[in-house]
């Protein structure tokens, strides 16, 4: 595996399957009375969050602690860190604190890439979401969840069709998923009004559609993306009601899907907007399970990147 996980592109199919297989092993730890492995004892993982995301931070924190790593939470939001230089300053501070891994969440696309490539730190860098760019561990946990239900928790996702519905333009989850699903042999289908698809979508790996109803019957899973409040007032669509009517997943639409089809959502959900409560709580929904799988997958990523096994670059930190 590569040293850092900045983009879903950093993972080959073999790497991705290894992460999922490792997550499967590590998931058993979570079922034990003592939910801890000594693997990363003495290693320091820094959660560097320039943007609020309690859910993602807690998930990484739990993952690190279950592997016995020391965790430092570094919340940089709202402090003086809004201007350039500070990313470098912060990185150098972490370096002097002896960070072995930095989990970074940043509002600016590319910030984790800079951290990984600028020689400011020796630590491995894990992207926990950057701007409108990527969120690779979310894609891994989605793949894990899909594989568990539809592929008997083994191998890749060959042959599956997965719809990703909503604000593709601004979604880091959609970007990472589109890449990873393709890597694992599945076909992602982006579904959104044309205003919420990026220029150049035709050249993305996969398909796209403006018509949710046409897509739903042929997919094995559907990922509903959260519609951000700020999009609602920027002419991306006329009204939330119209959006919901065309792109919301309700019970009626769920009925048109295949029996085995899964419903995913990275959370937090706007119930009533992109997904109805009925669907969110239906048997097809794996939304709650995604959270638990998130911890396992992040444990696997930390384990593989920090554990020094199968590290091509030979760097054992």
């Amino acid at each position: 595996m590569k040293k850092h996980l900045v983009s879903a592109h950093d993972l080959t199919a073999e790497d991705a399957v290894l992460v999922l297989d490792t997550a499967k092993e590590l998931a058993q730890v979570s079922d034990r009375p003592v939910k801890k492995l000594p693997t990363l004892r003495g290693r320091t993982v820094v959660n560097l969050f320039f943007e609020d995301s309690t859910r993602t931070r807690i998930s990484f924190e739990a993952a690190s602690k279950r592997l016995s790593a020391d965790v430092i939470n570094f919340s940089a939001k709202g402090s003086s860190v809004s201007k350039g230089e500070s990313l470098k300053d912060t990185a150098q501070t972490l370096q002097s604190m002896g960070a072995d891994a930095v989990v970074i969440r940043h509002g600016s696309s590319g910030a984790p890439y800079l951290l990984a490539t600028k020689n400011w730190i020796d630590a491995i860098v894990i992207n926990a979401g950057d701007g409108t760019h990527e969120h690779p561990t979310q894609a891994l946990l989605d793949a894990y969840t899909i594989r568990k239900h539809l592929k008997n928790n083994e191998g890749d996702l060959k042959g599956l069709k997965i719809a990703i519905v909503g604000d593709i333009l601004h979604s880091r989850v959609a970007r990472s998923n589109a890449i990873l699903l393709k890597t694992l042999g599945a076909t992602p289908i982006m579904v959104a009004p044309p205003t919420l698809l990026p220029v150049g979508i035709d050249s993305w790996n996969g398909e796209y559609s403006y018509d949710l109803d046409e897509v739903l019957p042929k997919v094995d899973a559907v990922m509903m993306l959260r519609v951000q409040q700020e999009r609602m007032n920027a002419a991306y669509f006329p009204t939330t009601r119209e959006y919901s009517r065309n792109f919301g997943l309700n019970a009626q639409r769920l009925k048109t899907m295949q029996k085995h089809a899964l419903v995913l959502h990275p959370g937090p959900m706007n119930r009533g907007m992109e997904i109805t409560a009925e669907v969110a709580d239906s048997t097809n929904s794996v939304v709650i399970e995604q959270v638990a799988n998130g911890v396992s997958v992040r444990m696997a990523v930390l384990y593989l990147l920090l554990g020094g096994t199968n590290n091509e670059s030979g760097e054992n930190n």
């Binding site: 809004s82 201007k83 350039g84 230089e85 500070s86 990313l87 470098k88 940043h106 509002g107 600016s108 696309s109 590319g110 910030a111 890439y113 800079l114 490539t117 950057d130 701007g131 409108t132 760019h133 990527e134 333009l169 880091r172 970007r175 990026p198 220029v199 150049g200 979508i201 050249s203 993305w204």
Partner: protein, 430 residues
Amino acid sequence: MSILLKNGSLKGEKNVDILIEKDLIVKVAPGNSIKDDKAEVFDLTGLIVLPGLVDLHTHLREPGREDAETVATGSAAAARGGFTAVHAMANTLPVADTAGVVEQVWNLGRKVGLVDVYPVGAVTVGLKGENLAELSAMAESTARVRIFSDDGFCVSDSILMRRALEYVKAFDGVIAQHAQDPRLTQNAQMNESELSGKLGLTGWPAVAEEAIVARDVLLTEHVKSKLHICHASTAGTVEILRWAKEKKVNVTAEVTPHHLFLSEVHCQSYDAKFKVNPPLRTDKDIQELRKALAQGVIDVVATDHAPHPTEDKEGEWSSSSFGMTGLETALSVVATAMVETKLMSWSDVARVMSEKPAEIGQLSDHGRPIAENELANLCIVDPKASWKVDAHDTHSLSSNNPFHDMTLKSKVVHTIFRGKFTMKSGQVQK
């Protein structure tokens, strides 16, 4: 003491000797034909002699951002780049929107004395796009302003642009437009393309430039004024310019060295030294811009030299500043992009980097023929040089040069400004 430049190649066409006394060229004769024992003699065999370069688009930052650049440091960088005249953009603090500020910049330039610094006046008060600045006061000041621009911002309001175009007719001024529809480029970070989608950076679509260029060409035709398009960056803009020139609309345009050479692919590094406005475009745009420059559809090269302190350029992309330095590398980039590729000759370079810009700026002392009784403003180039750019080896106060570590062809060796070396054998003469 007089200066004798021996056997240099005049615009790459024929070898000549040039004798300079005081600030004037007193004699131009065939190569190795002049003998003058009292003159300081320089053998220019193998070198190209061009008229001193003229930049229509320079950000000197003074007054207000002396941490990024001053008139003195910017002038030194200009001299090193072969320039003998630069046009200082109005987005200083305070904005150059009054006779007082433009005269201050003009005087600073004269005091430094390395190049002629011609201030560009703001079109609107404070560059705010609301009320016209006192254009005629600036035109009549000692700075004698002829080019007006809100550069950095687009004069996007149609009626204000119309009025500005009309108003400057009274003193034969020109409006230099930074063409960028503000609504189409809110929070824009890079060229809108497949790549911007992948990188998750908000797109700056070509249409945001082209829509303004098209509108302004039509307005200019309607009110019979003069328009200059700053930093043309797209193939579509070239198409509109071609159409406008066929219709004899009085429009000129510039292209920057970086838009002739660097594509959006560099944004993949998330290295903000490649962040610039308008953004780096595609290879197709680069090819069309090069062709247009060679054909004269784009009239001139202008640097858009935009110095920024390190802390504004080394952080995350979206919080970093737009802009690149370019005075010291401009000639070499143009030579590499246009001359090495055989798209242009050295006399074309003289046209697009000196003669035409001087004409647009209405400068009587620059862009003149290299002939007897003309001012001795010269740029002397080694066309065989091949050199690696080091952004930190600069006279600018800033080092945000995107060509860092790249190898360029040709290099300015000497610059002569009003009969004196401002750079001699690569050394700026402060």
